[in-house]
C-alpha cells in the first residue's frame, strides 16, 4: 500500500474525536446551560455532522490525491445511483405503510429475473439487434413486472393487515422474502441468467490534469436514476398523488376521512417502490449472472442510508445513499478489510447524535 495509512488514521481519529467533543460540548454546555434553547439543538448538531463529513472528505482528498479521489467517485457512480433508487423505494413504503420493507430487494430481484428472461427468450426471437434497445426493453419489462408485483402484494396482503403492528408487517415482508426466494428457482429454473449490458465501452476524459475513465453503462445508470428520481420528486411535490402520499404518511386515517384514496396511494407506492427496485437491480446486475441473494447487501446499505438520512424525509435518504458508498470506497484504500464495519460504526455514531437521522423531524408526544 503506497498510501500513508498510519498518518491517515491518526488524522481521522483526531477529526472524529474533536467532532464528538464539540458535539457533546455544544449539546450539553452551550445549548442546555448557556442558551437554554433546545429548539436550536437540531440545527447545531446538523451543522456539526455536516462539518465533520466535509472535514473527512477533505481529509480523504488530501491523503489520496486528485486522481484516486475523483476516480473512486466516478467508479462509484453506479453504486450510488442503485443505492439511491433502492433507498427511495424503502422510504416510500415506510411512509405509506409504516413498515421497513425487507421484501424490497427480493421484489427487485424478481423483476431483474424477468428482465433476463425477456432479453434471452423473447426479445432475441423478435430480432432486435441493438443491444441498447434490448437492454431498455428488458429493463422496462422487469420494472413493469416488479410494479405489478408490488401492487399485488399491497392489494392482497398489506391492505388486509392494516391493524397489525409495524413489527408484524415487517415480518410479513420477511415472509414475502422467503416466498419469492423459493419461487424464483421454480419459475426461472436453475440455469445461469444474465441481463444484457447497456454498454461496455469505457469513456476516457481529461480533467484537472489527470486522465479519468468512466464506463458508459455507469453513466447511463446515473442518467436513468437521476431522471427517475427527478420525476418522482416532482410528482411528490406537485401532483395530487404526491400530496396524497404526504397526507397518508402523516396520518392514514385522517387522510382517508379527508377524501384521499389511501388504498390507491399505498398500492401505487408499493408498485413504484417495486419498479424502482427493479431498475436498480437491473443496473446492479450489469455484466454478471443473477442470483437470488444479489440485492441483500444493497438492501442493508439502503436501510443504513435511510436511517442515516432520516425516514421521515425524502431527501435525507438520498443524501445517505451518497454518503455511504463514497465513504466506504474511499476508506477502502486505507483499510481494505474493515471499510464496511467502519462506515456502519460511523453511521451508528451519527444516528446516536441525531436519533431521527440527519433530516428527521421530531414529533411532539402528549402525556
Amino acid at each position: 500500500m503506497f498510501f500513508d495509512s498510519v498518518k491517515f488514521w491518526n488524522t481521522f481519529y483526531i477529526i472524529t474525536g474533536v467532532t464528538v467533543f464539540l458535539f457533546l460540548f455544544v449539546d450539553f454546555v452551550v445549548i442546555r446551560k448557556i442558551l437554554k434553547k433546545p429548539s436550536k439543538r437540531d440545527l447545531a448538531s446538523n451543522l456539526i455532522v455536516i462539518g465533520w463529513f466535509i472535514a473527512i472528505v477533505v481529509h480523504l482528498h488530501a491523503s489520496l490525491g486528485n486522481f484516486f479521489f475523483f476516480q473512486t467517485l466516478f467508479d462509484k457512480m453506479l453504486g450510488i445511483s442503485v443505492l439511491a433508487l433502492a433507498t427511495t423505494g424503502i422510504v416510500l413504503i415506510f411512509k405509506t405503510s409504516i413498515t421497513t420493507n425487507f421484501a424490497q430487494g427480493m421484489l427487485a430481484t424478481f423483476g431483474v429475473y424477468v428482465a433476463g428472461i425477456v432479453s434471452m427468450r423473447w426479445a432475441q426471437n423478435t430480432g432486435i439487434s441493438s443491444v441498447f434497445q434490448l437492454a431498455m426493453i428488458s429493463m422496462i419489462a422487469g420494472a413493469i413486472v416488479a410494479f405489478l408485483m408490488g401492487v399485488a402484494i399491497d392489494v392482497f396482503i398489506i391492505r388486509k393487515s392494516k391493524y397489525i403492528t409495524s413489527i408484524g408487517k415487517q415480518m410479513i415482508t420477511m415472509g414475502l422474502v422467503l416466498v419469492i426466494s423459493g419461487i424464483i428457482p421454480v419459475i426461472f429454473g436453475i440455469d445461469a441468467i444474465s441481463v444484457p449490458r447497456i454498454s461496455s465501452r469505457p469513456i476516457s476524459f481529461e480533467w484537472i490534469g489527470w486522465n479519468f475513465t468512466v464506463s458508459e453503462h455507469a453513466l447511463y445508470g446515473m442518467y436513468i436514476s437521476v431522471g427517475l428520481l427527478v420525476v418522482l420528486f416532482t410528482a411528490l411535490r406537485f401532483t395530487k398523488w404526491g400530496l396524497g402520499v404526504r397526507a397518508t404518511a402523516s396520518n392514514e386515517i385522517v387522510a382517508g376521512m379527508m377524501g384521499v384514496n389511501t388504498k390507491l396511494i399505498t398500492a401505487l407506492s408499493w408498485g413504484i417502490a417495486g419498479a424502482l427496485g427493479g431498475v436498480a437491480a437491473f443496473m446492479l446486475a450489469q455484466g454478471g449472472t443473477l442470483s437470488a441473494g444479489m440485492m441483500v447487501s444493497t438492501q442493508v446499505n439502503g436501510f443504513m442510508a435511510a436511517i442515516l438520512g432520516g425516514f421521515s424525509s425524502f431527501i435525507g435518504p438520498i443524501v445517505g445513499a451518497f454518503m455511504i458508498p463514497i465513504l466506504s470506497n474511499l476508506i477502502f484504500y486505507f483499510s481494505p478489510l474493515w471499510q464496511n464495519a467502519i462506515v456502519y460504526l460511523l453511521v451508528l455514531l451519527i444516528v446516536l447524535a441525531k436519533p431521527l437521522g440527519l433530516f428527521g423531524k421530531r414529533i411532539a408526544k402528549k402525556v
Binding site: S161, M171, F311, L337
Partner: protein
C-alpha cells in the same frame, strides 16, 4: 356433603394442582426429549439428522426465549441476535481451542461479556426507538459479522472455526453429542423455568407496563433506563449462551450463518409462535427451524435413491419416463418448497392470528370444546328426547 366424598375430592385436587403447576409442562417437554434419546439408545431407528434437528431447535428455543422477553415484554425490536449468537460461538471456540479454558469458566465469561454488550445496546435504545432501533441493531450485527470475517486469528475467517473438544475439569474431552444433548435438555428446562419466573415477576410486569404506556409506567415508578437495559441484558445473555451451546453441540461456526437471515428467522419464530408465551416460542421455533431441518431436508423422492418411489414407478410400466422425470424435478424443488412453506406460514399467521400459533391453538381448543358440547347436546336430544 359427607366426609368420604370430601376426601376423594381432595385427592383429585392434589393431582390437578400437580398437573396445573406451571413447571409441569416444561418438565414434560424435557421428559419427552429425554425419552426420545432413550428410544434411540435402545435401538429404535431415529436418524441422527432428526436428533440433531431437535438439539439445534432446543438451542434456538433458548435464543428465542430471550428474544421473546425483549420483544413480547419490553416491546423492543432487535435484529442483532445473529451477531450475539456468533460472539458466543467464537468465544467458546477461541477460548477452548487456543487457550484451553474450561467450559464453565467460558460460560461465566460469556455471560459477563453479554451483560456488557446488553448494556451498550440498552443505552443506544434509550435514544433510538422502534423500527430505527431494529435497523441500528441490524447495523451492529453487520459490523460483528465483518469482525467475524476479518479477525482471522480469532475466528479463522470465512473458512469457519472448528471445535472438536471441550475442556472439562482440566482435561480435553472429545465432544460426545449424546451427552451434550442430555445436558441441553436440562439447560432448556432450566431456562424455560427461569424465563417463566421473569415473565411472572415484578420485573416482567414492569416491562409490560413500559411496553404498553411509557408515561404510565414512569408515573408508577418504572425506570425506563433500568428496564430497557435489563431487557437487553437478558436477551443478549440468552443469545450468547445459545451461541456457546451451539458451538459445543455443533462444533462448527462460520460467519455466513450469522447474517441477517438468522436474526429474521428468530424474529419470525417468535412472532409465528406468539411472542408472550413460552410454548408459543417452542412451537414457532419448531415450525421455522425444526420442520425445515427435520422434514424438508430429509425427504428424498429421487427415483434412483428412494426404493418405495422406484417401486411405485415400476407399477406403471407405460408411464415410467414421465413419472421418474416428475419425481426427479420434485426432488429438486423440495428444498425451495421449505422456503415457500415458511414464508406462506409466516404471512398467514401474522395476517389472521396476530397473537401467533399459540393463540390459534387456544382458539382451536375453545372451538373444539364448544363443538363437542354441541354434538353432545344433539346426541342427548336424540337419545332422551327434548327436556320437558
Amino acid at each position: 356433603m359427607n366426609s368420604l366424598s370430601l376426601i376423594r375430592q381432595k385427592r383429585i385436587g392434589q393431582l390437578k394442582s400437580l398437573i396445573h403447576h406451571p413447571y409441569f409442562g416444561f418438565l414434560v417437554v424435557g421428559a419427552l426429549l429425554l425419552f426420545m434419546q432413550g428410544l434411540r439408545a435402545a435401538g429404535v431407528n431415529i436418524s441422527i439428522t432428526v436428533m440433531r434437528t431437535f438439539g439445534l431447535t432446543m438451542i434456538y428455543v433458548i435464543i428465542g426465549l430471550g428474544f421473546s422477553i425483549l420483544l413480547g415484554y419490553a416491546g423492543l425490536a432487535s435484529l442483532g441476535t445473529a451477531g450475539f449468537v456468533g460472539i458466543g460461538t467464537y468465544l467458546v471456540g477461541y477460548l477452548t481451542t487456543k487457550m484451553g479454558f474450561p467450559i464453565y469458566i467460558i460460560i461465566i465469561i460469556s455471560i459477563l461479556g453479554a451483560i456488557l454488550i446488553g448494556l451498550i445496546i440498552g443505552f443506544i435504545s434509550l435514544r433510538i426507538e422502534g423500527m430505527y432501533l431494529a435497523i441500528i441493531t441490524l447495523g451492529l450485527s453487520e459490523i460483528l459479522n465483518e469482525v467475524f470475517k476479518n479477525a482471522v486469528e480469532f475466528t479463522n475467517g470465512t473458512n469457519g472455526l472448528n471445535m472438536s473438544t471441550i475442556v472439562f475439569f482440566g482435561t480435553f474431552e472429545v465432544i460426545n453429542i449424546e451427552t451434550i444433548f442430555t445436558a441441553l435438555v436440562f439447560i432448556l428446562v432450566l431456562v424455560m423455568v427461569i424465563t417463566f419466573n421473569i415473565m411472572k415477576s415484578p420485573t416482567g410486569r414492569a416491562m409490560l407496563a413500559m411496553k404498553n404506556s411509557e408515561s404510565a409506567a414512569q408515573a408508577m415508578g418504572v425506570s425506563i433506563l433500568k428496564y430497557r437495559l435489563m431487557a437487553f441484558m437478558i436477551a443478549t445473555v440468552y443469545a450468547v449462551v445459545g451461541g456457546v451451546l451451539y458451538m459445543t453441540y455443533f462444533g462448527f461456526s462460520i460467519p455466513s450463518s450469522w447474517g441477517l437471515a438468522f436474526s429474521l428467522n428468530i424474529l419470525a419464530a417468535i412472532i409465528v409462535g406468539g411472542s408472550r408465551s413460552i410454548y408459543g416460542v417452542l412451537l414457532g421455533t419448531f415450525m421455522i427451524f425444526g420442520l425445515d431441518m427435520a422434514v424438508f431436508q430429509t425427504i428424498n423422492v429421487s427415483p434412483t435413491q428412494n426404493a418405495s418411489v422406484a417401486a411405485f414407478i415400476a407399477r406403471f410400466p407405460e408411464h415410467t419416463e414421465q413419472l421418474s422425470e416428475f419425481f426427479r424435478s420434485l426432488n429438486g424443488a423440495i428444498p425451495t418448497m421449505s422456503y415457500i412453506f415458511n414464508g406462506v406460514l409466516i404471512i398467514i399467521v401474522i395476517m389472521f392470528y396476530p397473537g401467533g400459533l399459540y393463540q390459534l391453538v387456544i382458539t382451536l381448543k375453545a372451538k373444539i370444546s364448544k363443538l363437542i358440547s354441541k354434538v353432545m347436546k344433539k346426541v342427548k336430544v336424540y337419545r332422551y328426547g327434548e327436556d320437558r
